[in-house]
């Protein structure tokens, strides 16, 4: 038992360990959070950040180790107890009812019987005092993602926590919204509150955090002062070695290359009350180029992807054209047969069936395009050739797995994503549409996937990448368009694009379409 607890530490964690099966998700983690500091928790996906935080918030029980709160040993057995101690948490994925107002949502979680009007007044006062203006009467469904995050933060602050845990808070914000958030965080720090800030955005961490704890493979690999580090040195600590930089060879002769994917006047009514309508989207992607679509989550990207992939058909056959032919009324299978390939945002349950083997998941998107080699006479599946094709993809994409042909759900997110992207690359499609290509994928695998997409384009395909990760889009794209509230801006050539310009567009500035490259082509 360690007895030298520093009273200045709000939270002290000693040897915290959580084991899932044979995997030590957290392995003897030590962590100190002082009063009035912003402490970064850094690590790649799968490094154990979420598991650690869940143990601190009482939703997971550690196998061993100790937690000290203000110098006292505590066992945090439930989120309710964590709140009582003074630990608040803002999750990456919000838990808000869209059909209720902000105040009603807050009242639900406080659950102390005080009248909604009183809660609304308190929330309003609190939100203005922290520079996070919020109308408690507004319906959550009508709010932007950034505004929804404010509700979560206000909800957390109403419980007057001493420690606030923020999980990837800026992943859903525009750069300008993120700046606002940072001001709030600095204000909270000035009041003596502590913040545990989880992120993989190193520039942010360098900017606002006082100290950082870096996790890798469930272990603490180092504590540091992020201000004295460079982004590269922090990345090295997280990954364990240099990440290979993505090389983007200059695109040649794109201006004269044929447009392989054309979207013309694509409009879609919302399918549910909270879906985003698509408004007159125009875009063309030429052979040899990568076009990126930036945007804050929930601005119509999902609806756009479904429309382009053919999971949802269009009334106007000419609104989506693939390799010069109308595809608006063609099913996803038909569009694949025209040469297109698609990678959706959700891996499990959309891009792959979780409880099916990788070889079966190969068949999922390629049963028609590779009908001759994968399906024999009478509709019999040629298991042998499907299996060997799956093994070929696994080798090409360096998919790490525990069995020769495991179920999709048994793979880590990054490895499954490599397989799903590899499944489509293996076809050498002439049009590739990818939604969030490296979401939740570790840095090494992400570089691999990005490089593969660039090479596909340079070999003569048209590649369209939808992403919330601006760094990724700047690394990949020849031009970036921005989706905001169901509208798509004209693509900015990468040479003219800056974080600031894209960020302003993401926030809804310069709405409408100044020009359409398609029309000038």
């Amino acid at each position: 038992m360690s007895a030298n607890h520093d009273r200045a530490n709000l939270l002290e964690v000693r040897g915290l360990t959580k084991i899932f099966g044979t995997l030590a998700a957290c392995n003897h983690i030590d962590l100190n959070i002082a009063k009035g500091e912003i402490h970064a928790l850094l690590g790649e996906n799968g490094a154990g950040k979420s598991t650690l935080v869940k143990m601190l918030f009482g939703s997971l029980e550690p196998n061993s180790g100790e937690i000290f709160w203000n110098g006292q040993a505590v066992r945090i057995t439930s989120p309710g107890l964590a709140k009582k101690l003074g630990i608040g948490m803002v999750f990456q994925h919000f838990s808000l009812f869209e059909a209720l107002t902000a105040a009603e949502n807050i009242a639900l979680s406080l659950n102390d019987g005080s009248p909604i009007s009183a809660i609304a007044a308190k929330a309003r006062a609190l939100s203005y005092s922290y520079g996070l203006p919020l109308d408690p009467e507004s319906l959550v469904g009508d709010l932007s993602v950034g505004e929804r995050q404010r509700i979560e933060i206000i909800r957390c602050l109403l419980q007057t926590p001493q420690l606030i845990i923020l999980d990837e808070p800026t992943s859903v914000l525009t750069p300008q919204e993120a700046d606002k958030l940072f001001e709030t965080l600095e204000r909270l720090r000035a009041e003596g509150k502590s913040i545990l800030y989880i992120s993989h955005r190193l520039e942010e961490v360098k900017r606002i955090c006082d100290r950082a704890t870096v996790l890798r493979h469930g272990k603490v690999v180092g504590h540091c002062n992020p201000r004295q580090e460079t982004a590269a040195s922090l990345a090295r600590m997280m990954v364990g070695n240099e990440v290979k930089a993505v090389v983007r060879a200059p695109a040649k002769g794109i201006e004269t290359a044929p447009a392989l994917l054309e979207i013309h006047g694509l409009t879609r009514k919302p399918a549910t009350p909270f879906a985003i309508p698509l408004k007159n989207i125009n875009l063309s992607v030429r052979a040899g180029e990568v076009i990126g679509i930036a945007g804050v989550a929930g601005n119509g990207q999902g609806e756009f992807f479904e429309s382009v992939s053919g999971e949802v058909l269009q009334q106007d056959p000419g609104s989506v054209r693939i390799r010069g032919k109308d595809a608006g009324g063609v099913s996803i299978t038909g569009r694949r047969l025209m040469g297109a390939a698609f990678v959706p945002e959700e891996r499990l349950g959309h891009g792959a069936a979780p409880r099916m083997k990788l070889s079966e998941n190969l068949l999922l998107s390629r049963h028609a395009t590779d009908g001759k080699s994968f399906v024999g006479s009478g509709g019999m599946v040629r298991n042998g050739s499907v299996y060997s094709a799956a093994q070929r993809i696994i080798a090409a994409m360096d998919v790490r797995k525990s069995a020769p042909d495991p179920e999709a759900a048994a793979l880590s997110g990054g490895n499954l994503q490599k397989f799903i992207v590899g499944r489509e690359l293996d076809r050498k499609p002439s049009v590739m549409v990818v939604n969030q290509p490296t979401w939740g994928v570790d840095a090494g695998a992400a570089a691999h996937i990005r490089q593969a997409l660039i090479e596909l384009a340079r070999s003569g395909s048209a590649v369209l990448v939808i992403s919330q990760d601006l760094d990724e889009l700047f690394e990949l794209s020849d031009a970036i368009a921005v989706m905001h509230n169901g509208e798509l801006s004209a693509p900015l050539p990468i040479a003219e694009a800056t974080f600031e310009r894209i960020g302003l567009l993401m926030g809804g500035a310069e709405p409408g379409h100044a020009e359409h490259r398609m029309e000038t082509a």
């Binding site: 038992m1 007895a3 607890h5 099966g21 000290f68 709160w69 110098g71 006292q72 040993a73 505590v74 066992r75 057995t77 309710g80 107890l81 009582k84 101690l85 992939s309 999971e311 099913s331 996803i332 299978t333 694949r336 698609f342 959706p344 959700e346 349950g349 959309h350 891009g351 792959a352 069936a353 979780p354 409880r355 099916m356 079966e360 068949l363 999922l364 998107s365 049963h367 028609a368 399906v375 009478g378 509709g379 019999m380 599946v381 298991n383 495991p406 179920e407 048994a410």
Partner: protein, 370 residues
């Protein structure tokens, strides 16, 4: 304090996939022994009468096959539905409509005889079952109604329709007022397989052929893959380009046709005419058969034989021990209950957790060991 915790397995357990029905069967036997003891009968004696005596002679095995045939035929069709996560609960009604449609020829055209009669009857039986199953499929795809409710409610419609037919327009005029149709002619009766040994008819062969064919489809063919994908992750199925509406119709029509075939086989083979009641609940018992057989057509053959035995055993305990034959229903219900319960073991491990120092109090406690 000790508590049980279910821990999710990373992969489904192949071992417990196989073991689960056997564990369920053992638990059913234990519960059954308690039930017999409470009824005042020695469990050993009762088990002997219930499970052993009904299959101790060759002719009795034929009776078993007669009971198992409709269960297997129906359950094989249902297994495809359930794999696709589509819930056809109305096989009993489709069974009855199959019996009615198939009886059109022998009842309305008794003078039409010859080798064509039987194949036509079987075909009509399948059409009848499929058409009746198309109703909940249509309602589901057009109006998003819940197919569990519609298919179930249509069972009662079918039962009353049959009752009306045999009491009304289709009643045998020479039948002394009994509610039944005329006896089918020779060419309308499904032949027995081995007339010298027992009564088992071709229905059992149909069941085996259906089981093997559907097993091939589900395990080797693209169609079976489509069923499994749409059943386990519909969004991934849509991404694959498989249509859910088409799948609803495919599974309902297939299971309806097989239930209809079972219906006409039963009417033409085991009964020989239409009566107000032509099924002791085969369509519902087949749901248990499907799950006990792990929704695998080959497993369903074995499960069908087990459930057929519960019917025979029920009759046996009634005549030998004077216990109600509703005991059969109790056994069937317990079996389904335990099968579904034991299936948890396929995806979860059970772990016993003990606390050295239980802490029920929410208050943080002071570190004392300084």
């Amino acid at each position: 304090m000790m508590r049980l915790e279910l821990v999710k397995r990373p992969q489904r357990s192949a071992l417990f996939s196989v073991l689960s029905p056997f564990i369920a069967f053992a638990l059913t036997m234990i519960a059954g022994a308690i039930m017999f003891a409470l009824l005042g009968v020695s469990p050993l004696n009762a088990f002997n009468v219930y499970f052993v005596q009904p299959i101790s002679e060759v002719w009795q095995l034929h009776e078993l096959a007669i009971k198992a045939a409709p269960l297997i035929l129906i359950a094989v069709g249902l297994s495809v539905c359930y794999k696709a996560n589509i819930w056809n609960i109305g096989a009993e009604g489709q069974f009855i409509l199959g019996g009615i449609f198939g009886s059109i020829i022998p009842v309305l055209f008794p003078e039409f005889e010859g080798p064509l009669v039987l194949p036509l009857m079987l075909l009509l039986g399948m059409v009848g079952g499929a058409l009746y199953a198309a109703i909940p499929a249509l309602l589901k795809t057009r109006f998003s109604t819940n197919e569990i409710l519609t298919s179930l409610m249509l069972v009662y419609v079918a039962q009353l329709f049959l009752d009306w037919l045999v009491r009304g327009p289709w009643r045998d005029p020479q039948g002394h007022g009994f509610p039944q149709t005329i006896q089918f002619g020779d060419s309308a009766v499904l032949p027995e397989l081995m007339p010298d040994a027992g009564r088992a008819n071709w229905g059992f062969v149909f069941a085996l052929v259906a089981a093997v064919t559907v097993w091939l489809m589900m395990s080797r063919m693209l169609k079976g893959f489509e069923v499994r994908v749409l059943g386990s992750s519909p969004r991934a199925g849509r991404f694959a380009g498989f249509g859910l509406s088409k799948m609803v119709f495919f599974t309902f029509l297939l299971s309806g046709a097989l239930a209809g075939l079972a219906g006409i086989s039963e009417v033409s083979g085991a009964i020989g005419q239409l009566q107000p009641v032509i099924s002791p609940g085969y369509g519902f018992t087949a749901i248990i058969v499907a799950f006990l057989g792990r929704l695998n057509p080959l497993g369903i053959v074995a499960a069908g034989l087990v459930l057929a035995l519960t019917y025979l055993g029920g009759e046996a305990v009634q005549s030998a021990l004077g216990i109600s034959d509703k005991v059969a229903r109790v056994f069937q219900g317990m079996l389904l209950f335990f099968v579904l319960g034991c299936d948890t073991l396929i995806h979860y491990r059970i772990r016993l957790i003990g606390f050295a120092a239980p802490q029920l109090e929410a208050a943080p406690k002071l570190e004392e060991a300084r």
